[in-house]
């Protein structure tokens, strides 16, 4: 029996540069315990678990699910592991939602995590395959040429990237779970950080974080089991495309546009800027905000930077479509959890649980995760009302 799907429990850890006090399992259990508490469920009552993290080579812990399964209460139950690079946390939530919507399970726990402190990420993401030149130190170096191309096409002024970084770091000050808390963060502070990969400054890049985020997804039957009203899943969608292909537009990838169009069609969205109250979008580097604003239809092609520049995406400036009220990936990046966090933060908003970063009266929110070389897109829409 197909069912509607609701988010009835949400839990995350305080994201930080090093969680030496817990191992992978301990950190994951911390997030799961909080989500279960929120849903007023015990481990025993969970039907299935879906987990997601970025490549095992990052921490060198190979197939962690092998030893985590029992500690996560999965003896005698199904466990699924999902893998779509940086978007994995979003995809993990979608797989969980689909298990519920398909009527397979009533109560699914989904969790994404990463312990970047145990990792050597540049090494892990650089397998030295013979067709890849060893040029870029980290993902920023890979994306910087795309940002430059975006700036050239749209004639965006240099300060927009800095402005986005300041905005998200200021949002993070409202979120006790965010990794970076820079109390006096300002335009000059970000502007004066070293240029790493022109046009990208150090202050415009995401941190390396340890953290986890879990959600309990339920069928309609258990939707009101938790202490707070549920967030209803209105639509989910995913798309992928190759890293390199003739005619591929890395600045505005077709997979992203198609993913958004299909998602909006499911939920009857015709004007994302007007129809959504807020959005949690995978902005790991500042320039992704204006670029993705165009890909996701919040602005016309070439106009995304004007949206960011106008303050429309800022809580502090009273913008009409706040993006990443939680501080976003620019303030916390436990990779495997980053996508889950986008989905969970959107759900927190429509449940009215977002605390100091709550958007007043938020009813409909968009979440988006991005993986690989802008190759994997995972998105969902959650609302306070039943779809």
């Amino acid at each position: 029996m197909a069912s509607r799907c609701a988010v009835i429990g949400i839990g995350q850890t305080k994201h930080t540069d090093k969680r030496l006090d817990v191992n992978h399992t301990g950190m994951v259990r911390e997030a799961c315990n909080r989500a279960l508490e929120d849903a007023r469920l015990s481990w025993k009552e969970v039907d299935a678990l879906v987990i997601g993290k970025a490549p095992d080579t990052i921490e060198g812990v190979i197939c962690p699910e092998l030893y985590m399964a029992e500690a996560l209460g999965m003896v005698g139950k199904p466990l699924f592991r999902v893998h779509t690079a940086g978007s994995v946390g979003g995809t993990t939530a979608i797989v969980g939602a689909e298990l519920v919507r398909a009527g397979v399970h009533d109560k699914v726990l989904v969790v994404g995590w990463q312990k970047q402190s145990e990792s050597d990420i540049t090494w892990a993401l650089s397998p030295h395959l013979p067709f890849d030149p060893p040029l870029m130190a980290g993902a920023g170096g890979f994306f910087a040429p795309h940002f430059r191309e975006y700036i050239r096409r749209s004639a965006a002024p240099d300060h927009v990237g800095i402005k986005v970084a300041v905005k998200d770091r200021r949002h993070a000050l409202r979120n006790p779970y965010a990794h970076l808390h820079q109390p006096k963060v300002c335009f000059e502070e970000i502007r004066d950080t070293p240029m790493l990969w022109d046009p990208l400054r150090y202050g415009e890049t995401c941190p390396s974080s340890d953290g986890a985020c879990a959600m309990v997804l339920s069928s309609e039957k258990y939707a009101y089991h938790g202490g707070t009203r549920p967030a209803w899943v209105h639509a989910t969608e995913m798309r992928s495309e190759p890293t390199i292909m003739p005619g591929r537009d890395e600045v505005n990838p077709r997979a992203g546009r198609d993913c958004a169009a299909a998602l909006y069609k499911q939920a009857g969205i015709t004007n994302p800027r007007r129809d959504f109250d807020c959005a949690e979008i995978y902005v790991a580097f500042s320039w992704f905000e204006p670029m993705l604003a165009e890909t996701l239809g919040f602005a016309e092609p070439g106009e995304g930077w004007k949206l960011s520049d106008s303050g429309a995406t800022s809580l502090d400036e009273g913008g009409d479509i706040p993006w990443n009220c939680s501080g976003g990936v620019l303030s916390s990046n436990p990779i495997g959890a980053s996508g889950t966090l986008r989905m969970a933060e959107a759900a927190l908003q429509v449940r009215g649980q977002a605390g100091a970063h709550q958007v007043d009266g938020a009813r409909l929110a968009l979440a988006h995760a991005l993986g690989g070389a802008s190759q994997f897109f995972a998105m969902w829409i959650v609302g306070s009302e039943k779809p």
Binding site: E37, P133, L135, A137, G138, R148, W197, D198, L200
Partner: protein, 170 residues
Amino acid sequence: MRNEVGELPGVPLTEKDVLHKKVLSTEWDPKLKWAWDTGIGYGRYLNELKKGRIVGSKCNKCKRVLLPARAFCELCFRQVDEWVHLKDTGTVNTFSIAYTDWVARRIKEPRIPAMIEIDGSGGVAILHLLGAVDPKQVRVGLRVKAVWKPESQREGAITDILHWLPMGEG
């Protein structure tokens, strides 16, 4: 119903406990070794690089040139029809100026990774490095030519091209 929030069993460790080896810790240096099967398309591409040539493949249905060469067209989802030799010249379509090295250390002389649209490919750009170019002189549209390693040093990798130089200056 108790999920022991905030009171996980066990003793939390501090960073010092780990760094000063007050707790049992093991260091492990794995010797990682793997072979990677190139397949038909990439295999030909890498072999041709060893000979100082850039090869793509062509799908006659959508008329696109795939670069690096591949055995099948991902959009038409059919086998490609022919190999296509491309020139080792191209046009910079975007670039970055990198002030960090491979392990994210600061470097004085910036390096310039660029997306280079290979002539004859119908607009496919590969990421590579510009050599001996003043960062101020780099621009979109710059015409460049590959500088190859001496034949004896080539190994069938994209690094068989050392870097790209502006045409007429190399």
